[in-house]
């Protein structure tokens, strides 16, 4: 499995579909577009079914997300949100199109049991740091900061299996935060959380973004109320990006859809 963004074709120019206010940030270099943390152009992805036919999952999806912002990816079940996110994380290679994602990047799975790989909380948060050459004190400090950000400072030595779903989700997020990544790809983090945990996790992500202008997050969600925390949003349907813009535009678009659907079934 090829997960290096370096080997993927990079896009160096802004595309016409990026109609949003971009916060001014420093340029990332020659090969990467300025101010953009994530960019995907005409991305398509298909799988081969047992009968040999190609089943399209994503169809000509284009998106661009500026640095330092929290964006949300919305859409009905099975529309290809998680697949798109896995392509951005480098877990899947697109069958067509090009993608650029700033590095280092981090991906948090929907199910925390798939993300948490070590038996205790501190061990798991420190696992992602294994690729860096850090001192014990640096690791300890990063782990403590990340756990503090998600409100899990008191659970350092707790076995992971004794945690609730929400707590495991927080540990998974802390693992991503500890790596100090420039891009956070978050797949339906709040699925297992109650309302207060949900807000807590969003605020934790938002705080990490506020702490550095270089950190960008793409958050997959079904919950429209989370849109108020976003700087921008993308709406997908049937494997296509239907809309790409500010949260208020997306919200207006969705409300219009709901009202037209309600009118249709009432008529």
């Amino acid at each position: 499995m090829n997960i290096g963004a370096v080997t993927l074709p990079s896009i160096c120019s802004h595309t016409s579909h990026c109609a949003f206010p971009v916060r001014a940030t420093a340029s990332n270099g020659v090969t990467s577009p300025p101010n953009l943390a994530i960019e995907g152009k005409n991305l398509s992805y298909a799988i081969t079914a047992r009968n040999g036919k190609l089943v399209p999952i994503l169809n000509d999806c284009s998106l661009c997300i500026p640095s330092g912002q929290l964006w949300m990816l919305l859409g009905p079940n099975g529309c290809g949100k998680s697949t798109l996110l896995k392509i951005l994380a480098g877990l899947l290679n697109p069958t067509h199109g090009a993608v650029y994602v700033k590095r280092p990047r981090s991906f948090v799975f929907q199910n925390p049991d798939h993300q948490v790989v070590m038996p205790t909380v501190e061990g798991d948060v420190a696992f992602g740091l294994g690729k860096f050459n850090l001192t014990q004190n640096e690791v300890r400090s990063r782990v403590a900061k990340a756990l503090h950000a998600v409100g899990m400072s008191d659970y350092l030595q707790r076995p992971v299996q004794t945690l609730s779903g929400g707590q495991k989700q927080r540990v998974a997020i802390a693992g991503a935060l500890a790596e100090s990544c420039k891009v956070l790809l978050l797949d339906e983090l709040t699925t297992f959380l109650d309302e207060s945990d949900q807000i807590g996790v969003i605020k934790a992500v938002k705080n990490s973004l506020d702490g550095s202008e270089e950190v960008t997050a793409l958050w997959v969600t079904h919950r429209l109320e989370e849109l108020e925390y976003a700087d921008g949003a993308i709406y997908m349907e049937n494997g296509k990006v239907v809309m790409h813009g500010t949260p208020s535009n997306i919200m207006g678009f969705l409300k219009e859809r709901i009202s037209s659907y309600t009118n249709r079934i009432n008529s």
């Binding site: 993300q115 038996p119 205790t120 420190a126 294994g130 030595q157 076995p159």
Partner: protein
């Protein structure tokens, strides 16, 4: 076998869900008896004609046909878990695996929590070797010591559960080996003929009251050899299980792995992949709990369906258990795949030497470690002395 009481009659079941929403899932599988209410006992011929008729109906209406015979020729069938037994088995599984098995207990923090994991590993080794090599008094002393330590260190619910299970297992072993290891006739055991057959005088009885036979219970007898085998096996089982459990309950997996790495580090010079072994150990310790969760959740899933086990045939019950096992394996493999993906995303590239595992706990020796080390030396000395003094 079908318990409907209709002998040699075919039964029909719908393969499609019932259109009636009030029907439970099981009702769609319930046999549809074709026997009219006032029909007398049918002979073989009539039953065959009914079978072909029912086949025709089934073909037309898309039913599945299941033949059931009430006379049930197979005796083995009654031993297959069926009906409420099957449900009880599943309920037992879903309940049993929900209790913590040898997992780290972070609070209350005890004396054992502060002992260095390297000393704990040496203790573990000593507790495995000593019962096999020391006097019977020493063996039972170790058992009592470990039982008291468990009661002191572990929460009440945990030590009661663990002591109960391990005690039961060791007790069964003790009784079976004690009474069973020396009951075979001496002719089977000895190749040399007894002294009476070769005109030698019998051995004189011991003046000091020594007797090879300790106890006799009808055909069963407890001899000195039996006692020795039984006490060694039972004590070894007890000490291994309980000491490992105590160690795991008071040490985080990372600390244990770190201690093991410390001991194994010199082996890297001879090419032993220590980093790989340690990572595998840590992943296994995490994965064990996922497996338990899967086993429990799959069993709960079946119990929650409220299957009417009484109406299932043996093959259907068996099929459910096969599906259960298949589901467990499928979920476990899916978990393993997802975890490997997560490891890749988190920077692991398949080479353990290039991905550092940080062990964040301090390993400085304290007063608890000195006491534990002295106790270990005392225990080993006592074991050696017991061999010399208590012959």
């Amino acid at each position: 076998m079908n318990s409907t009481g209709v002998r040699a009659l075919p039964t029909l079941f719908f393969s499609a869900p019932s259109p009636n929403p009030s029907h439970s899932i099981r009702k769609t599988l319930a046999p549809l008896k074709l026997r009219p209410p006032n029909l007398p006992q049918l002979n073989r011929k009539s039953s065959l004609s009914l079978t072909s008729e029912s086949l025709k109906i089934a073909r037309e209406r898309g039913f599945g046909i299941r033949c059931s015979s009430g006379d049930g020729g197979s005796k083995w069938a009654r031993w297959v878990p069926k009906g409420m037994v099957a449900e009880r088995v599943l309920r037992l599984i879903s309940g049993a695996t929900s209790s913590p098995i040898c997992q780290y207990v972070s609070s209350p923090t005890t004396f054992l929590h502060s002992v260095d994991p390297r000393i704990k590993l040496v203790w573990l080794l000593a507790l495995v070797v000593l019962p096999a090599r020391s006097h019977i008094v020493m063996r039972f002393g170790l058992v009592i010591y470990l039982a008291l330590l468990s009661i002191w260190v572990l929460p009440k619910q945990l030590w009661m559960d663990q002591l109960g299970r391990v005690g039961l297992l060791s007790g069964i072993l003790f009784v079976m080996l004690g009474l069973g290891s020396d009951v075979a006739p001496s002719l089977v055991q000895l190749r040399t003929p007894p002294p009476a057959m070769i005109n030698l005088p019998s051995l004189p009885s011991s003046l000091s009251g020594y007797s090879y036979l300790v106890m006799k219970l009808g055909p069963l007898q407890l001899t000195r050899k039996g006692l020795s085998v039984a006490s060694t096996s039972a004590c070894l089982t007890f000490t291994i299980f309980l000491s490992a459990s105590l160690c795991l309950a008071t040490t985080t997996p990372e600390k244990l792995a770190s201690a093991l790495r410390w001991f194994m580090l010199p082996l890297t010079a001879v090419g032993v992949p220590v980093a790989e072994i340690i990572l595998t150990l840590l992943l296994s310790l995490r994965f064990i709990n996922l497996v338990f969760d899967e086993v429990r959740n799959a069993a709960l899933g079946i119990v929650a369906r409220r299957i009417n086990w009484q109406q299932l045939t043996i093959m259907e019950t068996f099929d459910i258990f096969v599906t259960y096992v298949r589901r467990i394996f499928k979920n476990i493999f899916s978990h393993a795949e997802q975890i490997s993906q997560a490891m890749i995303v988190r920077g692991f590239r398949g080479d353990s030497r290039n991905h550092k595992i940080y062990f964040l706990s301090d390993s400085s020796l304290g007063i608890a470690d000195i006491i534990a080390s002295l106790c270990l030396v005392g225990l080993i000395s006592a074991a050696i002395l017991s061999e010399v003094i208590l012959v």
